[in-house]
């Protein structure tokens, strides 16, 4: 079968991409569209480094087939903040020292962003439950909890 054409909007920008059925959304976003902020830590849905928001839902894009993103609105780390300054969550991660090697961080911030959209003032326990799909091997999480709590405050949740 020849590649199939999909259209998707990533961070507000439209793209038309010819994909193989077995390509993941992560592959398309990183390798074809060229947004390399999302990372692959496991490729099997276990670590959250590839987290994206697809049509309003947080997913692990490494096991999300690209064809299923046809017509979708996708938000990646690049869509949360960067070009025009940091998003408060990003700011809080920097200031709290919640970043070490950084490999988990894009996915972690996308997951935190999704959490704060749904629950603007989460408790520590809610944060700990909501981020359990995002592994970080460096920080031990404490500063990540602090950063999310602080971001919620900064965002006036």
């Amino acid at each position: 079968m020849p590649k199939q054409l999909i259209r998707l909007v990533v961070n507000g920008e439209g793209h038309e991409v010819a994909v193989e059925p077995w390509w993941s959304l992560l592959h398309v976003v990183r390798e074809v569209i060229g947004l390399t902020g999302s990372k692959e830590g496991c490729g099997t849905g276990d670590c959250g480094a590839c987290s994206m928001i697809v049509n309003g839902r947080l997913v692990t894009s490494c096991i999300f087939l690209a064809l299923e993103a046809d017509g979708a609105q996708v938000t990646t780390i690049e869509g949360i903040g960067g070009d025009k300054g940091l998003h408060p969550i990003q700011q809080a991660f920097v200031e709290e020292g919640a970043v070490q090697c950084g490999y988990c961080i894009p996915g972690m911030i996308v997951a935190a962003y999704d959490l704060l959209r749904q629950n603007p003032r989460p408790t520590l326990e809610e944060i700990r439950y909501a981020l359990a799909g995002n592994l970080c091997r460096c920080t031990g999480y404490t500063k990540i909890y602090q950063a999310v709590l602080r971001a919620a405050e900064m965002m006036g949740g």
């Binding site: 902020g37 990646t76 070490q100 995002n134 920080t139």
Partner: protein
Amino acid sequence: MAEVGDVRKAFRHVGKPVPRVDAPAKVTGRTIYGDDLKLPRMLHVKLVHAPVAHARIKGIDASKALAVPGVEAVITAQDLPPHRYDPDNRTRVLLARDEVLFYGQPVAAVLARDPYTSAYARDLVEVQYEELPPVLDPLEALRPDAPLARGSVQALEEGEVGGHITVEGAEARKEEGPRNVASTITFKRGDVEQGFKEAAAVVEGTWRTPMAHQSYIEPHVIVADYDSTGRLSIWSSTQAPFHVRNEVAKTLGLPETRVRVISTEVGGGFGGKIYLYEALVGALAMTLQRPVKLTMSRKEDMLAATPAPNCIVQLKMGMKADGTLSALKARVIFDTGAFPGAPLLPGCLLIGGFYKCPNLEIEGLEVFTNKVSVGALRAPGAHNVAFALESALDMLARRLELDPMEVRLKNAVEKGDPLPSGQPYPAIGLKECLEAVAKSQLWQRRHEIRAHPNRGVGLAVGGWLGGLQPASATVTLNADGTVNALVGAADITGTNTAFAQIVAEVLNLPLEMVRVTTGDTDSAPYAGMSAGSKVTFTVGRAVKLAAEDAKEQILRIASQRLEAPPEELELVDGVVRVRGREDKQLTFRELGRWSTAFGGRYPPIVGRGAVAPRLQAPSFSAQAVEVEVDPNTGQVQVLSWVVAQDVGFAINPMAVEGQMQGGSTQGLGLALFEEMAYDEQGRLLNPNLLDYRLPTTADVPPIETIIVEVPSEDGPYGARIVGEPSIVPGPAAVANAVADAIGARVFQAPLTPEKILHALGKIKD
């Protein structure tokens, strides 16, 4: 931080919490990691991993793989360019030649235009194996009638462990003799039998810790390019660019001038990203004359990187009625897998290195099995032995009805006390760490906590001696008055931020005026590997010297121009002025211009610093843990955790806390979850992050940190090593907490619910 609080006030930058300078790029996804690199005409390689633990290779048929459109080549050991093959050195067996020694060992490489194609074609390579009996259990392996895991080993060359720890007066011995022994080591002091006679209580037990994976979230990634001038460039997420360059050059028979290693941002290493497949990927790039990229999948990384060893500690310890240790006898067995490299030396040193003990006898054995060969994991070998030592100590304290804190304070090593090797400790802060934990809320509340059913508090300590390796750095003044520092050490823990603080401190600049870069091996001043927790301690000293050298050069010129002796000059925010004379000043910008522009009158300002430190700055950590155990299901939940660590001087307290919390959490993982599980054929059963369980946010409570600062004699501003010690106490602290909570002692990590139920007698074999 009481001890050096006043010292801290004297500084403008060092000692202050500073966000990492690379954090903004990381939170926006802008940082470029190895997997983000693309070179023109680049091929993607996937390795064929052996599905058997021990076998002879009878033949390899690549025809089906080669028929897949997009596949450019399938390379086996026979197709590699001539190189220095060494069957005893994992990194010099680029691909298995005749014999497969562990499950997952690479036997061939498939190169294709995209990674999906290479992965698909890889599965089509047909390898014929004649299976041999695998040797899997290290105790079985030692039996005289055991089959051999592999041929004998000639020599262990500059093992990686050497980069982590530096010890005088002890050398790992290699031995011919019992089966499957890679190396042995012994330490003796006093008379243990006499020591046991003097003891009021003796405990004895066998403690086991399984193979564990570093589980950096970024799997190994390497890109290599061999250009038309015959130069091999390697981008690698390595912690040790110069080590990689030297090893690749040696292995591939190239002069070091023709190998350039660019360390890409390391997405976590913890000792597991020193050097592994760089020579192979380099050789593939040379063979195909095209850039080649190896991005390992999680599964491949778990199968065929260098995890931490399985370890068995047989320990007997005696204590007098007053709580002083009288004898320690230990047999430490590390399962090194199919190639040498287990952390036998640090393990054997540290089991006798946390406490004073007049009589000790330590025997260490490094044993071959048909499992993946091992590497370092944050304080390699230390958590394995601490699990035994710290558990046994608690058992003795309980037996003699002594307080575990008191017992530790009583026996803790101090400056001048000898390691098992006889080498005396420099200034250290183990006691201070214990005292800090004793004052913590958690420890103070412990009686209250115990009043709850099934809750308990555990205490344990751990330390690391630290590595030593020469290091250098340069500091240069730019035309616009800003300052660059160049180092050769990969920044993993935020060291470049600490270096910026140091340079800004010496030159009294705002932090924004300083930029620290890790150069590649062609351009950067030499630095040892970013392992052994020593980067700030060694490279930091070089940076400080380089900044001081630059300062001197600046003062020399300024003194001429301002016609005032250097002693009367001061540096303030990029301005040099005569003290008390606002009118007599010049700026870094002017100096920069004069020393760089056409017709400039002064040579460029290049400060250099180079050090070869000889004195270690060991660091200790003490930790207390509160757990709740469900006596019905055996489930353990960690409720609180406090970590104290002596860091000498916290150049960046924010980064130091992050290290302490990260290390403690890894300790928690080793205590409760982490284990590479093998079946009877030596096949890894859990090569993924669902079944190899790292702690998640739901498992890890906020971790309280207490920074203890007992200045080191030799480190920059008194700083000592930081990264490694915090992983060490975890397994023992949790085991002690579980014993405190429910009275059951578990001798095997991780402390799974099943093992706890066993210890409670609720299930039996």
